[in-house]
């Protein structure tokens, strides 16, 4: 019974949202507001039960991890701007967050992203099949010319200008592929909704 009610609610909300394609209307606005409200409520519950309680309050209150007071104190300082006299104290949590994020990200980003990606452009042009050699050449040229486009310390004229123009062509191909995939993604989402309506709600497929 609950499942049936859920399906009906989901189906009617889906139709309410799609009704916007005809024109803006009250049903669309109701569905939109329900979505915003449910999302806010959902995230409040997730933040409490998955972040704050198990990581901060539960260890502090039931296992005696008294030092959890420090992250709680730093977190509370995020609200410092609400009191103008101590608003400067927000710098403490912001500095802490930036410091940790940079320490974790920079080392791992260099090791896990920049170096392997750079290494992947050192490709053989001989001793491989003709097609593979051509593909490797395209990758190398694509990297070089795109980097030339992003070299801004000299005006893009002469050889540098030609290189930058070829770089633009490589990027255009990349944007085209991304756009094609984006269309595919949006159509897939629509297919998912139609499948839900025809299969779960109406039961015709």
């Amino acid at each position: 019974m609950i499942n049936t009610i859920g399906i009906w609610v989901a189906a009617l909300l889906t139709l309410a949202i799609y009704s916007f394609l005809y024109k803006d209307n009250a049903f669309y606005k109701i569905a939109e507001n329900i979505f915003v409200g449910v999302s806010a409520g959902y995230w409040a519950v997730v933040l409490w039960y998955d972040f704050a309680w198990p990581n901060l309050f539960e260890p502090l209150l039931t296992r005696g991890q008294w030092y959890n007071i420090f992250p709680i104190f730093i977190g509370v300082l995020m609200f410092a701007p609400l009191i103008p006299k101590i608003s400067w104290m927000i710098r403490i949590p912001l500095t802490f967050t930036m410091g940790v994020a940079m320490a974790v990200s920079i080392t791992q980003f260099v090791q896990g992203d920049i170096f392997p990606q750079l290494q992947a452009t050192f490709l053989p042009l001989s001793g491989v099949s003709l097609f593979k050699g051509f593909s490797n050449l395209l990758i190398i040229l694509g990297v070089v010319f795109t980097l030339i486009y992003f070299y801004f310390s000299k005006e893009h004229k002469g050889v540098l200008g030609i290189g930058a123009k070829i770089g633009i062509w490589f990027m255009m191909v990349s944007f085209g592929a991304s756009f094609g995939y984006t269309i595919m993604a949006r159509v897939s989402l629509f297919i998912g909704r139609i499948y839900f309506l025809l299969h779960h709600w109406l039961g015709v497929i």
């Binding site: 394609l21 005809y22 959902y42 997730v46 998955d50 972040f51 990581n55 940790v100 974790v104 990200s105 791992q108 980003f109 090791q111 896990g112 992203d113 392997p116 990606q117 290494q119 992947a120 990758i139 990349s174 592929a177 991304s178 995939y181 984006t182 269309i183 595919m184 993604a185 159509v187 897939s188 989402l189 629509f190 297919i191 998912g192 909704r193 139609i194 499948y195 025809l198 015709v204 497929i205």
Partner: protein, 273 residues
């Protein structure tokens, strides 16, 4: 030409209607258009095939209902393959709702293969913390995961107690709709601990992943609903991926037609001045 003038002022709601019909009709009357298998999808299949029985595959459901249409069919197809190969599944999620979606697929397919919770598969639920959590996880699972999604102590479950660190994981498969997701697994988990990573991503994310396939940081990839349809073909189980492919192909043809027609009208109008 009058037709071109009419079309250049066409009410866009007619286009919406045509797209809707292009999706609905092939669903009601399937055309069963062929689906070609691409290299990145075959790589995922081959990787799973190459694992010995009993290996532990970590599945991370890093998406929410907004991407369910694209990633849930892939989740089902890959879980199906893993259970068919008698691999053990350790499921978790970097997105809160993803864990619940993964659980639906896991429980549904586990039943049909008589797999037992705790021994053949577990779900430890949503794990917040992004990159910091992944770095800790690879070093010692016990630091991050103490209970499963139902609150059962992880050490009391045979599979949970047996997985101590990244060394006990043979393969990570992430179903990813954004951040945190596949890039975190590649940059933080694969780079630090060397565990092979396969992924299923939304179609929007797929082009970004090709450099990682090329560098070998990513072993295989399922891009969007098309990737799911290819995988369903490989495991010979028709699901939502294959069901949606007819509609997807017809809509793409329709859109290509619209783009071509739009350009023809533009050239005509320019010539006419």
């Amino acid at each position: 030409m009058r037709v071109f003038d009419y079309l250049s002022h066409l009410d866009r709601r007619i286009i919406f209607l045509l797209v809707a019909l292009a999706v609905v009709i092939p669903m009601l009357v399937p055309l069963n258009l062929p689906v070609d298998i691409t290299g990145p999808v075959k790589n995922v299949y081959d990787k799973i095939e190459s694992l010995p029985e009993g290996s532990v595959v970590l599945i991370s459901t890093d998406y929410d209902p907004g991407s369910e249409a694209e990633l849930y069919p892939a989740t089902e197809a890959i879980i199906e393959h893993c259970f068919r190969k008698n691999l053990r599944i350790y499921m978790m999620g970097l997105w809160p709702a993803g864990s619940e979606l993964g659980n639906m697929a896991l429980n549904k397919i586990a039943q049909s293969y008589n797999k037992k919770y705790g021994k053949d598969y577990i779900n430890v639920g949503y794990r917040p913390g992004g990159q910091v959590m992944l770095l800790s996880l690879g070093r010692n699972f016990g630091d991050v995961i103490k209970v499963d999604y139902q609150g059962i102590p992880i050490d009391s479950l045979p599979l949970g107690g047996g997985v101590k660190s990244a060394r006990d994981i043979s393969l990570v498969i992430t179903f990813s709709a954004g951040d945190p997701g596949i890039l975190h697994w590649i940059t933080y988990f694969h780079a630090r601990y060397g565990v092979p990573i396969c992924g299923a991503t939304t179609a929007i994310m797929a082009p970004q992943m090709y450099p990682y396939l090329s560098s070998g940081q990513l072993t295989g990839l399922l891009g969007g609903l098309k990737g799911a349809a290819e995988y369903e073909t490989l495991v010979d189980k028709k699901g939502r991926g294959l069901r949606g492919m007819d509609s997807q192909s017809i809509v793409h043809l329709l859109l290509v037609g619209f783009i071509a027609l739009g350009n023809v009208i533009l050239v005509y109008q320019r010539r006419r001045g």
